[in-house]
C-alpha cells in the first residue's frame, strides 16, 4: 500500500513537471512570433535537382547576408516534386518559394490564391524587368489574365555529348555543326561494338526533351500545334523524324531496352558504355564532377535536320506561395534570385544557364575544357519545349506508348498515330 502511494506521487510529480516543461516551451514560441523581425524569418525553398543545390546554397547565403532572412532548401526528386507541391497546395501549406515548370504552371495559374501574384512587385521593382529575360520564357509564367506568377530562373538547351576516346579508336572525326541526323545515325552504328559492350548511343523515351523532341522540330514537325489544340504526331514531318529514331533503334546502336530503362543515359556515358548521349545544359554540375567524363568526353551541337538545327529550350521560374506567412520576404528572395547579380553568379558557379539575357558566356567559361558554347549557341535556334494546360496527362501517355517502340514490339508510325488520337482527345478536354 505504502509503495503504491509513493509510486503514484512520483508519477504525479513527473506528469506535472512535464506539463510545466510544455508550458515553458509554448511560451518561448509565442515570444518568437511576436517579434516578427526579418532576422528570425526562415523561408523554405523547394527544388528538385540536387545537382544544383550546392550552387544555389552559395547564392542564397549571399541573400541571407544581405537581408538576414534565412533560407532552408529542400530537395524533392522530380518524380515526387509535383505530388508534393500539389498536396501542399491542396492542404494550404506550400513552401515559401519554389521552382515552377511549364508543364505545370497552367494548373497552378487557374486559381488566384495559390501562386503569389507578382505583378505589382515586378512593376515596382528596380532589379526585375521582365525585358531582361527571353520573352518566350517569361511569357510561360504570365497567366492568361496578365498576372505574373514567376520570375525566370534559367534556360536549358541540349547538346550531343560524345566519348572522344571511342571516336579516336574508331578513327571517326568528332561531331561538328555540319552533322545531319542521318550522319549521326551512321556514326552511331559504326561506334557500336557489342563484343566490347560499347554502344553508339543511349537515348530513351524519357530523353525526349534532350533528343527526339528536338529531332521532330528539326524535321519541321511538331508535338503540339501552336494554339495548343491539336497534336502534331500525325504530321508527315513528325513521322519522318520519328522513323529516323525508329531506324536508330532497329540498327542496334543502343544497349538493350532493359538496360536503358534501368539506368540514366548519363550513367551510361559515365561508365563508358555509350559513345554518345544527348544531355541538357542543367546536367553540367554532374558532368563536371565526373573524372571519366572530364578526361574522355566533350559536347557538340545537336545534328541538323531538313529544316535546320533545333534544340528544345525550357526555362524554370521562381514562384512563391500566395498563402505563405512571409510573402514579403519570399518576394525579396525571388527579386534577389532574378537580379542580374545572382543570375550572373548562377552562371559563373556553373549551376545552370541563367535566364538573364547575356549572362551565359560566363556559364560557358565555367568549364573551359568542355565546348559549352554549343549550349549558348543553341539558344539561337530554339523551340520552347511543348506544353499545354494539362501537359502531364498526354506527356505521360506519350512516354508509355513509346516504350513499345523502343522495346521493338510495335512500329513507330502506328504508335505515333495512336498518340495523335489520344492526345487530341486529351487536348479537347482542356
Amino acid at each position: 500500500m505504502k509503495w503504491k502511494k509513493i509510486v503514484s506521487v512520483i508519477l504525479a510529480v513527473c506528469m506535472v513537471s512535464g506539463l510545466a516543461a510544455c508550458g515553458k516551451d509554448s511560451g518561448k514560441e509565442e515570444s518568437k512570433k511576436t517579434d516578427n523581425d526579418s532576422k528570425d524569418v526562415e523561408l523554405t525553398v523547394a527544388i528538385w535537382d540536387s545537382n544544383q543545390e550546392p550552387g544555389l546554397r552559395t547564392i542564397m547565403d549571399g541573400f541571407t547576408e544581405e537581408t538576414g532572412v534565412k533560407v532552408d532548401i529542400q530537395v524533392t526528386t522530380w518524380k515526387d516534386y509535383w505530388t508534393m507541391l500539389e498536396a501542399a497546395a491542396t492542404g494550404g501549406d506550400m513552401p515559401d518559394v519554389f521552382w515552377m515548370h511549364a508543364h505545370q504552371i497552367d494548373q497552378y495559374a487557374e486559381y488566384d490564391d495559390i501562386l503569389l501574384d507578382l505583378t505589382d512587385y515586378v512593376e515596382k521593382s528596380e532589379k526585375i524587368k521582365l525585358d531582361n529575360y527571353p520573352e518566350e520564357i517569361s511569357d510561360i509564367y504570365i497567366a492568361d489574365d496578365g498576372r505574373v506568377l514567376g520570375v525566370p530562373k534559367d534556360v536549358g538547351t541540349s547538346a550531343l555529348w560524345f566519348n572522344k576516346t571511342m571516336f579516336d579508336e574508331a578513327g571517326i572525326e568528332y561531331p561538328d555543326e555540319t552533322w545531319t541526323w542521318e550522319k549521326f545515325r551512321e556514326v552511331a552504328k559504326q561506334l557500336t561494338i557489342p563484343e566490347k559492350d560499347q554502344y553508339g548511343l543511349a537515348m530513351k523515351p524519357a530523353s525526349d526533351q534532350e533528343s527526339w523532341c528536338s529531332t521532330v522540330y528539326a524535321y519541321g514537325g511538331e508535338w503540339l500545334s501552336e494554339d495548343k489544340t491539336k497534336s502534331g504526331f500525325d504530321k508527315p514531318e513528325t513521322l519522318e523524324a520519328m522513323k529516323l529514331i525508329e531506324g536508330i533503334i532497329q540498327d542496334g546502336s543502343m544497349p538493350e531496352y532493359s538496360v536503358l530503362s534501368e539506368n540514366d543515359t548519363v550513367a551510361l556515358l559515365e561508365s563508358g558504355k555509350a559513345a554518345m548521349v544527348f544531355l541538357g545544359s542543367y546536367m553540367l554540375p554532374r558532368l563536371s564532377a565526373n573524372d571519366y567524363v572530364r578526361e574522355n568526353c566533350d559536347a557538340a551541337p545537336l545534328p541538323v535536320g531538313p529544316k535546320g538545327r533545333c534544340s528544345t529550350n525550357m526555362g524554370l521560374a521562381w514562384s512563391a506561395s500566395a498563402g505563405g506567412e512571409h510573402t514579403e520576404e519570399a518576394w525579396k528572395l525571388i527579386e534577389y534570385l532574378g537580379s542580374e547579380k545572382a543570375q550572373i553568379q548562377q552562371a559563373e558557379l556553373g549551376v545552370t544557364m541563367s535566364a538573364f539575357n547575356g549572362t551565359n558566356d560566363k556559364w560557358a567559361a565555367y568549364e573551359p575544357q568542355f565546348n559549352l558554347q554549343v549550349y549558348v549557341d543553341a539558344l539561337e535556334d530554339d523551340v520552347i519545349y511543348p506544353y499545354s494546360k494539362n501537359t502531364q496527362v498526354w506527356y505521360q501517355m506519350i512516354l508509355d506508348k513509346m516504350v513499345s517502340v523502343w522495346d521493338g514490339k510495335r512500329p513507330m508510325e502506328e504508335v505515333c498515330l495512336e498518340v495523335a488520337d489520344e492526345m487530341n482527345a486529351y487536348l479537347a478536354e482542356e
Binding site: T90, S261, L399
Partner: protein, 299 residues
C-alpha cells in the same frame, strides 16, 4: 433497487464508450471519413487542388470497367499476393518453430530475421534495385561468373512481379516470425511431453499439436498479410522504373491509383480504382471469416 441498477448500467455504458473513445476518434478521423470521402469523390471529375469538381455519376466506373490496365493491374496484384502471402507465412512459421527451441545465438538469429522489418522500405527497395540492376547489379555479375546469362530482373515482364514479391517476402518474414513465436510460446509444454510418451515424432507433433494450436495466430497473420499484399505499392514504385517495359505487367492497383490520382491529377478516377480495391479486399476478408470456422481452433 431497480433504479440504482439502471444507473449502474448507464454508468458502465458511458465508461465503456469513454475508454474506446481515443480509438474511435482515430478510426473515424483517419479511416472512416476518408473512406466516405473517397467513395463520394469517385463520382466526380475532379479539378486541381480539390476544387472545381464536376459530378459525373458513374462515368469513372464505366471507364474503369473498359480500362484494360485496371484489370491487368488486378491480375498483377493477385500474382503478387499468391507468391508473397504463402511463402512469407510458411518460411516464417518454419523459422519460428526452429528458433523456438533453446539454442546458441537464438537472439542473434531472431534479430537478423527481424532486421528487414526495421529498415525503411524505401531504403530496402533502393538496395534491391541496385542488386537486381541488369547491367551493373551484383546478382547478374555473380550469374555471369558462374556462366549463366544475365537476367533482366526488373525489366522482364514475365518475372518482375515475382522478383518484387520475393523482396516483399524477405522484408516481411521477420514480422510474421515474431507473431508466430508469440503464438508458439502459448502452447503448453505438456502437450508435447504427453505426445512424446505416446511415441509421436517431430513431424507428427508439428502437424497435430503445433499447427492446430497456432491456427488463431495463423488466421490473424493470413488476414492481415492478404490485405497488406493487396495494397503493395512502395516496393513497385521504388524498384521498377516508370519507363520499364515490365511496368504494365507489374504495377498493382494501388500503384495505378497513385499514377492516376497524383501524377496525372485525376483524383476522381483514382478514387474509383481504390473503391474497387476496397470491395475486393472486403469480399476476400468475408470469405476468410466464413472459412475460418473450418480450420481455426480456439480453445
Amino acid at each position: 433497487m431497480q433504479k440504482s441498477r439502471l444507473t449502474r448500467d448507464w454508468k458502465e455504458c458511458i465508461w465503456g464508450w469513454f475508454f474506446i473513445l481515443p480509438t474511435m476518434l482515430g478510426l473515424i478521423i483517419l479511416n472512416i471519413i476518408p473512406i466516405v470521402q473517397t467513395i463520394y469523390q469517385s463520382f466526380f471529375k475532379t479539378g486541381s487542388f480539390g476544387r472545381g469538381n464536376i459530378f459525373v455519376g458513374l462515368e469513372n466506373y464505366k471507364n474503369l470497367i473498359e480500362d484494360s490496365s485496371v484489370w491487368q493491374s488486378l491480375i498483377n496484384t493477385f500474382k503478387y499476393a499468391i507468391v508473397e502471402v504463402p511463402l512469407s507465412i510458411v518460411i516464417a512459421l518454419v523459422l519460428a518453430v526452429m528458433l523456438n527451441r533453446k539454442m546458441r545465438g537464438r537472439t542473434f538469429y531472431r534479430t537478423i530475421f527481424f532486421l528487414p522489418m526495421v529498415v525503411a522500405p524505401a531504403a530496402v527497395a533502393m538496395v534491391w534495385r541496385w542488386l537486381f540492376n541488369s547491367e551493373f547489379g551484383l546478382l547478374n555479375k555473380l550469374l555471369n561468373t558462374v556462366g549463366i546469362g544475365e537476367v533482366n530482373w526488373l525489366s522482364d515482364p514475365k518475372i518482375t512481379v515475382y522478383v518484387v514479391a520475393m523482396v516483399g517476402v524477405w522484408s516481411v518474414i521477420g514480422y510474421n516470425m515474431v507473431l508466430f513465436l508469440a503464438g508458439l510460446q502459448e502452447i503448453p509444454r505438456d502437450f508435447y511431453e504427453a505426445s512424446e510418451i505416446d511415441g509421436a515424432n517431430v513431424f507428427q507433433q508439428f502437424f497435430h499439436i503445433t499447427l492446430p494450436q497456432i491456427s488463431p495466430t495463423m488466421f490473424f497473420v493470413l488476414v492481415t498479410r492478404i490485405i497488406a499484399s493487396f495494397q503493395v505499392f512502395d516496393m513497385i514504385l521504388m524498384m521498377v522504373d516508370r519507363s520499364s517495359p515490365a511496368l504494365p505487367k507489374t504495377q498493382s492497383l494501388v500503384y495505378l491509383f497513385y499514377r492516376y490520382a497524383f501524377v496525372e491529377n485525376n483524383k476522381g478516377y483514382g478514387s474509383a480504382i481504390v473503391v474497387l480495391l476496397l470491395v475486393i479486399i472486403m469480399i476476400i476478408t468475408v470469405i476468410q471469416m466464413i472459412m475460418q470456422k473450418k480450420w481455426v481452433h480456439y480453445e
